[in-house]
Amino acid sequence: MQNRTLNQFNKNTSAMQVEEPVVKPMLPWVEKYRPNKIEDLAYQEEVVQSLQGVLKTGNLPHLLLHGPPGTGKTSTIIALAKQLFGPDFWRQRVLELNASDDRGINVVRNKVKKFAEQIVAKNPNPGFLCPSYKIIILDEADSMTNDAQSALRRIIEDYATTTRFCIICNYITKIIEPLVSRCVKYRFKSIPENEQIERLKFVADSESVTYNLDALKQLVVVSGGDLRKSVNMLQSSSTLYEKSINKKAINEISGFIPDEQIEDLVSVIQTKSIRSVQEECTRVIQQGYNIEQLILQFLDVVLATDTIKEKQKAKMMEIAAYTEKCLIEGSAEDLQIFNLMAQCQRIINEN
């Protein structure tokens, strides 16, 4: 397992070194442009600062990195490991476990413990700090069972001298309290628009993609602060549209719902006929749009509509929130969207 993980990174790093003759064309840009150094990390200044301190002293606490997806959590810790141990050694010193590996309590008890028990020497690699500990990265830790997390807490303390843990998760609430208290927490902020655009520009330039600013802005809007998503989308749209992207292409690729469709919905809730609401909803469903996206865009348009009163907007928001909750729980889309639209119509017609 460990080997496999390391092999994986092996490949990644080899691809990252652009000067190598054989560059795999199919490597996703996300991997390709993953920062190699902490300094390259976009936007997260506080994290970068304190981790640079670590690089100087070699003194690393247990880390807990949390924040929305695509903000650079995994990139940070991998970059840190590379800088700490050097390109030759970091693979031996790091064990990465993620949700696609089995991480039940047994794995924690056996694999993690085994790795944690190993003792490593200091400074085998001149030029790098290479302190005498190893790093275990538990990626996507919010999907670990509570049992496994409980088993971890003792291991973390017992092997603190030889091993540092880095727990990465989206939602810190999913990590049990005892684990949280053993770690230094870093919250990764959503990357703001201009930072993302900068980054996207850099990627697009290096891949010689022609673009306009509008397209990149739209890219950021549809990805909702998830840098990985926007880079992914940049890649796929550039593949599809032969290295030149525009706003329309982005919309096409991101599943952004055409404004006309949303306008139709908004106008239909301002009528009095439930039948027409029903028909419109059926149409939306048949079009197979992403309903969550639809609700978001719908609310955007509603908020911008002057004819609807503020109070009504507030009520509609409430129902929209409930609908989204239902959808996340897996409810039937057609029913829920119909309900949302019908209730919105009711609210508008009430006054």
Binding site: P69, S100, S254, G288
Partner: protein, 356 residues
């Protein structure tokens, strides 16, 4: 002449022969040309032609070999220590494998993890001719448990060099965000009525059945965008009647009628506890036949709305819709469908009593 149902015999086998959504075909063609493509996620309603497009796309990539498949039952141990296994039927060609892990219910995670690792670890035999990656088609991703989806997310990154994953689902909302952000999303909308009618026309010409435009339109409307249903229906009308009448009624599916007659009508007529006893049996008849609870509720809603569509007090309609949405959500969170159906029926009765 009749070895296959028309849904199969008329199924387009290449991107060029696809009848509608030419823009999707165009995208797919570009992807195929590129010799490399990201993970794909096809979403759209039932019978819209997702799978047809996926296979046509694969044919474009690999050649017609993708249609030569073998069937295999794979068994995986749930974990290292126990002897319990979970199994799942896998269709595989030289180039791709096709699997629906949600068949294994809550063990789907195991199948995802093991199967993809297995595929990724096996090399393509002659990598000169073909792409050096395989394609894994995962069906019904929206039915996968959250755990299975979570295990998929990193797998998708890890094994991207060896295999590409094509996910097919009906509703995007049930897919967790990390997966969505790792895929190129391709929406396959249902064909609209004219498109359905065109296809039906084409098929009826192909099989030389004389059918009026009127009837074709009727079928197209009744199919509600589900092309598969439309074609099947066309064929069954053809077999049913030696000469097809123009004014033939398009019968709704039996269970829908059952709901209208045996469940909605009693609720509308008598809002009594007796009615509850009466319709419980009817609910069970539907449930035993594995008709999904949300579909039953949807049909019930259609039925009651129809009954009260001209009612002076519009509130009743809104209330009915609201209660349906609420009960549907509860049914999704719970496990015993009957409980939620009864709750909905009782709620309908109170609403009708109060407002009608």
């Amino acid at each position: 002449m009749l070895q296959q149902l028309w849904t199969e015999s008329t199924k387009p086998k290449s991107l060029d022969s696809l009848d509608y959504h030419s823009e999707i075909s165009e995208i797919l063609r570009k992807l195929a040309k590129n010799s490399d493509f990201p993970h794909l996620l096809f979403y759209g309603p039932n019978g819209a032609g997702k799978k047809t497009r996926v296979l046509a796309f694969l044919k474009e990539v690999y050649g017609s070999g993708v249609y030569t498949v073998t069937e295999e039952e794979k068994e995986y141990k749930i974990n290292e220590t126990s002897n319990t296994t979970t199994s799942c039927t896998v269709l595989s060609s030289k180039f791709h494998i096709d699997v629906a892990p949600s068949d294994a219910d809550h063990h789907d995670k195991v199948i995802i993890q093991k199967l993809i690792k297995e595929v990724a670890s096996s090399h393509q035999v002659n990598s000169k001719q073909t792409k050096d990656f395989k394609v894994v088609i995962i069906n019904e991703v929206d039915n996968l448990t959250k755990e299975a989806q979570a295990s998929l997310r990193r797998t998708m990154e890890k094994y991207i060099e060896r295999c590409r994953i094509i996910l097919i689902c009906e509703s995007l909302a049930k897919i967790i965000n990390p997966i969505r952000s790792r895929c190129l999303l391709i929406r396959v909308p249902a064909p609209d009525q004219t498109q359905v009618a065109q296809i039906l026309d084409k098929i009826s010409a192909q099989y030389n059945c004389k059918i009026s435009q009127q009837l074709i339109n009727k079928i197209a409307i009744a199919s509600n965008g589900n092309l598969r249903e439309a074609i099947l229906y066309l064929q069954s009308t053809r077999v049913n009647n030696t000469c097809i009448k123009d004014d033939q009624n398009i019968a709704a599916q039996e269970w829908k009628l059952h709901i209208q007659h045996n469940i909605v009508m009693p609720i509308v007529k008598n809002q009594l506890v007796e009615t509850m006893k009466e319709i419980r049996e009817k609910f069970y008849q539907l449930l035993v036949n594995c008709i999904p609870v949300d579909r039953i509720m949807f049909e019930m809603l259609q039925g009651v709305l129809n009954q009260y569509k001209d009612h002076a007090n519009k509130i009743i309609l809104y209330e009915l819709i609201k209660s349906t949405a609420k009960c549907e959500n509860r049914a999704r969170q719970g496990s015993k469908g009957i409980v939620h159906l009864e709750a909905l029926a009782a709620e309908y009765m109170t609403i009708i009593k109060q407002f009608a």
